[in-house]
């Protein structure tokens, strides 16, 4: 045939050792050999992270994503917005995660029939058809141990026998006929601090990114509106399709008919005018000596500006220079590991108590004869603070219309470190 088709032609799933363990074609079959171009690029990139997402081959284009140790490689024949494909592939991986609890090679292989049915529903002729989890779950039921036992006895199947209605309605994200005995709506306000702290401890860059994840179990067709005490804090917001843009534009209220179950309501960025409070500080002394092929390592983490809340779940990871052979350290709190192959040092600190600051100190052994590392490694810090949204964002109230019952409502706040890096 002399002319070409748009959108996704085929999909190959490839594991880390380069085995193609699943293939699906939406149009005529494309030979596996097309993946050779991908393997070539992968080899050149050395690191999986650096495999280019878009590869051009003589007859096709390959657009790939890397998720959970699996490459999703799609074959494209003509011009298409690359983000369209990338976003879709991530949606596929999300769906697998949602269905099987994990998006791993084993899970996919064990559920290959469901995977195939899902892919069939998600894409028609290479164009996305049903990608909403609420809809998919009505079409194809997720596997559970109980169901597979029942199925094997009764001979019934995991394909829905009642047909979904949502796909056909104006609210394609919600299924009809939802019923709960306990009606509940929970919102988690999760904020992450992205920061780069320089050698002297001053902030090079800091920003707060937040999301509101919801778990809504409400019967019928509830119409919710959620308002904030201080909506002005939200500088840039992205919405789940269920949210009405106009209400937000005019009244700064989130008004929506929610999907059933878990979903991300909004993501937001806190305006950059607000100074970001950095909840921890790090004192560090890392040095390498020229001739003795050894070095010193001394890091202390302490709390700062955390509004009386405890900083917990503190973990520090450091990618040490290649010349480091091993590390002999003592931690006053928590435990550390050093992987001599990947050169990654991980220090699991736990909770920080201001009375006794956690410290990790000791000797770094370098490869003898190797030149002294030019640069000190950056410290990546993770932490968590419960009951606190660091931006000060506060939910004002949640109202429900359209249904008569009184739901149970809950809001939880949490602050975490996002991409939090300390340069040394």
């Amino acid at each position: 045939m002399c002319f070409q088709q748009k959108m996704i032609h085929s999909l190959f799933l490839i594991n880390c050792s380069g085995d193609i363990f699943l293939e699906k074609h939406w149009k005529s079959v494309v030979s596996q050999s097309v993946c050779d171009y991908f393997f070539e690029a992968q080899e050149k990139a050395i690191d999986v992270e650096n495999v280019p997402p878009v590869i051009s081959t003589p007859h096709h284009y390959l657009i790939s994503i890397y998720r959970d140790k699996i490459f999703f490689v799609s074959v494209i024949q003509t011009e298409v917005p690359p983000l369209f494909v990338i976003e879709f592939l991530h949606r596929v991986a999300d769906t697998f995660q949602d269905y099987f609890g994990e998006c791993s090679e084993t899970a996919i292989k064990d559920n290959v029939v469901i995977v195939y049915e899902l892919l069939e529903e998600m894409l028609d002729n290479g164009f996305p058809l049903a990608t909403e989890s609420n809809i998919l779950k009505e079409l194809i039921k997720p596997p559970t141990i109980l169901r597979s036992v029942v199925n094997s006895i009764t001979g019934s199947s995991n394909v829905g026998d009642t047909l979904p209605t949502g796909q056909l309605s104006n609210i394609p994200w919600r299924r009809a006929g939802v019923k709960y005995t306990n009606n509940e709506a929970y919102f988690d306000v999760i904020e992450e601090i992205d920061a780069i702290i320089d050698k002297s401890g001053s902030t090079v860059f800091a920003e707060i990114q937040g999301v509101i994840d919801s778990c809504i179990k409400l019967s019928g067709m509830p119409d919710l509106s959620l308002s904030f005490m201080n909506p002005r804090l939200l500088d840039d917001v992205s919405f789940h399709p269920c949210i009405r843009f106009k209400r937000w534009e005019s009244e700064r209220v989130l008004s929506f008919i929610p999907p059933d179950g878990n979903f991300r309501l909004i993501s937001y960025r806190v305006s950059s005018q607000n100074l970001v409070a950095i909840p921890v500080y790090v004192k560090h002394m890392i040095s390498f000596k020229e001739n003795t092929s050894s070095g010193r390592f001394d890091v202390t983490i302490g709390p700062k500006q955390n509004m009386g809340k405890t900083v917990e779940g503190v973990v520090m990871t450091v990618h040490m220079p290649k010349a480091v052979l091993n590390m002999n350290l003592t931690a006053t709190q928590g435990s550390y590991t050093f992987d001599p192959v990947t050169k990654v040092l991980t220090w699991d600190v736990g909770k920080i108590t201001p009375q006794k600051l956690p410290n990790l100190k000791g000797i770094v052994n370098l490869q003898s004869g190797a030149p002294k590392p030019e640069e000190n490694p950056s410290l990546n810090i993770q932490f968590k603070i419960q009951q606190l949204a660091i931006s000060g964002l506060k939910v004002n109230r949640l109202d429900m219309y359209g249904e008569k019952y009184k739901p149970f409502k809950g809001v939880k706040y949490i602050t975490k470190a996002g991409k939090f890096q300390v340069r040394t």
Binding site: F3, Q4, Q5, K6, I20, K24, K27, V29, Q32, N50, P52, P53, V54, S56, Y61, I65, R67, T78, E79, P81, P82, L83, F84, I86, E87, H90, K109, D110, V112, V113, Y116, E117, N125, F127, P128, T144, S148, N151, G155, S157, V159, T165, Q167, L168, S169, N170, P172, V204, F205, D235, V237, S238, F239, E249, R264, R269, H319, P321, E375, Q421
Partner: protein, 722 residues
């Protein structure tokens, strides 16, 4: 083993006890490789055939599951076709589905047998349940068998008038499939597209525009009447459809509206020019031209598009955000395009693939309009944990954004990067410093000094890169650089990277008159190591020799001849060629022509300084957000974005007559009633009424429109009555 695995073996055992042993070890299709070692495929297929012919659904289902497993693995299951196709009419919905999967994969290879299944689909197309109708159409149109083209055409036509928007959506998808099977159907398919474009359901909009883009993207005229409707529906269309519609409308707008970027003066000229050769100008058009002469006013339809796409910047879908961003970039007045930056920067929090594409697009944007991203400078700062490809893209953007005001901050940031353990990135940073130095004259000296300091770096890649960049910088600034060249000459003993060595040699050759003492000595040293050098370096040694021969032949004549002799017998023909060429030019003999008189002018001519430019500089001729832009080469099927017309085509083509549209709409709805008898809800009498409604006009007809518009309502009614 998984729950499914359990299911398979149990069912196998139950259905065909004699096969239990056979079936048990296969367990799931996930381990066929191991199994294949011990049992030939034919034998395995034999038992699958038996299972498919069994009377029990559970055995059939088990067999189908294993077959799908084989397909998923990329194994050939085509010989099972006759056994599988028999089950196409199975009552069990899961078996049916899996048979569909099989059919779509193998029908093309087994066309004759595939025809056996067609009548089943034809029956299903008349099913009262819209989902069954839709899925029948989906499968029927996915069977790539040319002989059924007429059947498909008929099915598509009927489905495009179906009462259910979901079936109509599937009809739109089927259009593309039929078109790829038989392009001769184009004209008929365009008719269907035209009909479906008028559809008011948000479900259909995205799919039909997709079909339009594939089958007849040049038939802009089909869009006119639907333009405003599409703009207004856009927010409610599903996200994938949004992307397609936005890209199509971007192209549309570039053919229909005048540029909002041109200066007023330019517009005036155009308007005047235009009036002379415009032959069909009606009153309205003239008035419009008059208006243009004085000031530019944006067509309200142009404004409508910009206004209705803006809220989509807040979509959770990166593809939608990017689509709106490119629309603003290509269509909005320059002062308004800035609103997209914030949303694009937000996408940088996403996974690495999204980051990669978004950063590429920002890189292109930031060359032309720095201001858009200057406020977000710090969002492009590099983290040591970023993958190299992300780091280099961020660096690219930072370099584009550099100006007098922020350069000192940036240089401080670059200093950190230079020390990165990721040497490839460190090298890229040095290039970036070089670019900043040439672009911002105030910091040229600072940068040059900084780079010279790097020459004593321990890492060879860093030093080599610095040498290359310094060479370029010195060329742009041919002033006081004797000292630096001397310094670099000393480095020659230690540096082994060929590009760097070549750069140093070239520099010394080019400016040999400024370092008269050192240059001959360098030639002496390199002559000694000539045979062990890289080709790149050898060429530069020859160059150096030639230049010295011309300027200082007393000291270097013999050395140069020695080098030329070495070159004459080199393994590489490039070097032998170059040697011959140089010898003819510089060593005068009876055969040498007029050129050798000018040898000095040829070798030591003033050379233009290299431009240090962004690799993203020439990408802006591709539409942003496209595959072609990412690859920086034209992808198959790329549709060029046209230039703005000098004068807007007649805007009244987009006017929609209300009565007319209502009539057309009922026209669409009128037909499906024919297949309705199966649906109890629609009694015979109502059907007649509806049909008369479609021919009559006004009141009644609007009523029926209102009734059928919200697909949801309609469907709920159907369900209630079932």
């Amino acid at each position: 083993m998984s729950g499914n695995g359990l299911t398979y073996s149990e069912q196998g055992g139950e259905a065909a006890p004699e096969l239990a042993q056979e079936a048990a070890p296969t367990v799931t299709p996930s381990t066929p490789a191991a199994f294949g070692l011990f049992s030939s495929d034919t034998k395995k297929n034999e038992d699958l055939k038996q299972m498919l012919e069994s009377s029990k659904d559970s055995a059939k289902l088990d067999a189908m599951k294993r077959i799908v497993g084989m397909i998923a693995k990329g194994k050939n299951a085509s010989e099972l076709f006759p056994a599988v196709v028999k089950n196409v009419a199975s009552k069990n919905i899961e078996i049916k589905k899996l048979v569909y999967v099989y059919l779509m994969r193998y029908a093309e290879e087994q066309q004759d047998l595939a025809l056996l299944s067609i009548s089943t689909f034809q029956r299903a197309l008349k099913d009262p349940n819209q989902l069954i109708r839709a899925s029948a159409l989906r499968v029927l149109s996915s069977i790539r068998v040319p002989i059924i083209v007429p059947i498909m055409m008929l099915a598509i036509k009927e489905a495009s008038s179906d009462l259910s928007p979901y079936v109509r959506k599937n009809a739109a998808h089927a259009i593309q499939k039929l078109y790829s099977l038989d392009p001769d159907q184009k004209e008929m398919l365009i008719e269907v597209i035209e009909k479906l474009l008028k559809d008011r359901s948000t479900l259909v909009a995205g799919s039909v525009v997709m079909a339009f883009e594939e089958v007849c993207p040049d038939r802009i005229d089909l869009i006119h009447k639907n333009y405003r409707k599409l703009c207004n529906l856009l927010v409610d269309v599903e996200e994938w459809g949004q992307v397609v519609i936005i890209h199509m409308l971007t192209r549309y707008a570039r053919t229909q509206f005048v540029s909002p970027w041109k200066s007023r003066r330019f517009l005036e000229d155009n308007a005047l020019k235009h009036e002379n050769n415009f032959y069909e100008s009606d009153e309205e058009q003239k008035e419009k031209d008059q208006k243009l002469k004085t000031t530019y006013t944006m067509d309200p339809d142009h404004r409508l598009l910009l206004r209705n796409t803006k809220p989509l910047l807040q979509s959770r879908n990166a593809a939608v955000v990017m689509a709106v961003a490119q629309l603003y970039w290509h269509l909005a007045p320059k002062s308004e395009a800035g609103i997209v930056s914030k949303s694009l920067v937000r996408l940088l929090r996403s996974n690495r693939e999204v980051q990669y594409i978004v950063l590429q697009n920002i890189a292109t944007m930031s060359i032309q309009r720095k201001g858009m991203f200057e406020p977000y400078l710090k969002s492009f700062y590099v983290r040591s944990t970023d993958p190299t490809m992300i780091k280099t893209l961020k660096l690219e953007i930072l370099t584009n954004l550099a100006n007098e005001a922020n350069i000192s901050t940036l240089l401080r940031e670059f200093q950190t990067y230079v020390k990165s353990q990721d040497k490839q990135f460190a090298a890229a940073t040095i290039q970036a410093i070089g670019r900043c130095a040439t672009n911002i004259t105030e910091v040229t000296d600072t940068c040059l000094n900084g780079l010279v300091c790097l020459l004593s770096n321990r890492d060879e890649i860093v030093v080599a890169e610095s040498v290359v960049v310094i060479k370029k910088l010195l060329q742009t600034q041919p002033a006081h650089h004797g000292e630096i060249i001397k310094h670099m000459a000393k480095l020659l003993d230690n540096i082994t990277v060929p590009v760097a060595r070549a750069s140093i040699l070239w520099l010394i050759g080019e400016y040999c008159e400024r370092v008269p003492k050192i240059a001959p000595d360098v030639l002496r040293k390199t002559a000694k190591s000539f045979t062990n050098e890289d080709d790149l370096v050898k060429l530069q040694i020859l160059n150096l020799g030639a230049k010295l021969y011309l300027t200082n032949s007393k000291q270097t004549k013999l050395l140069t001849q020695y080098v030329l002799n070495l070159g004459k017998y080199d393994q590489s023909y490039d070097i032998r060629d170059r040697t011959r060429f140089i010898r003819q030019l510089i060593v005068p003999n009876e055969k040498s022509g007029a050129l050798s008189k000018y040898a000095k002018k040829i070798f030591l001519a003033q050379k233009p300084a290299p431009l240090l430019e962004s690799p993203f500089k020439d990408r802006d001729h591709f539409q942003l957000g496209t595959l072609s832009h990412t690859l920086n080469s034209r992808a198959t099927g790329y549709l060029e974005l046209s230039d703005w017309p000098e004068v807007a085509p007649d805007p009244s083509v987009r006017n929609v007559d209300v009565a007319e549209s209502a009539k057309e709409w009922t026209g669409i709805l009128g037909k499906p009633k024919k297949e309705k008898p199966t649906e109890k809800f629609y009694s015979e009498s109502e059907e007649e009424e509806d049909e008369s409604a479609s021919t009559s006009s006004s009141g009644k007809c609007l009523e029926s429109t209102a009734f059928s518009l919200p697909g949801k309502l309609c469907l709920q009614n159907c369900l209630v009555h079932k």
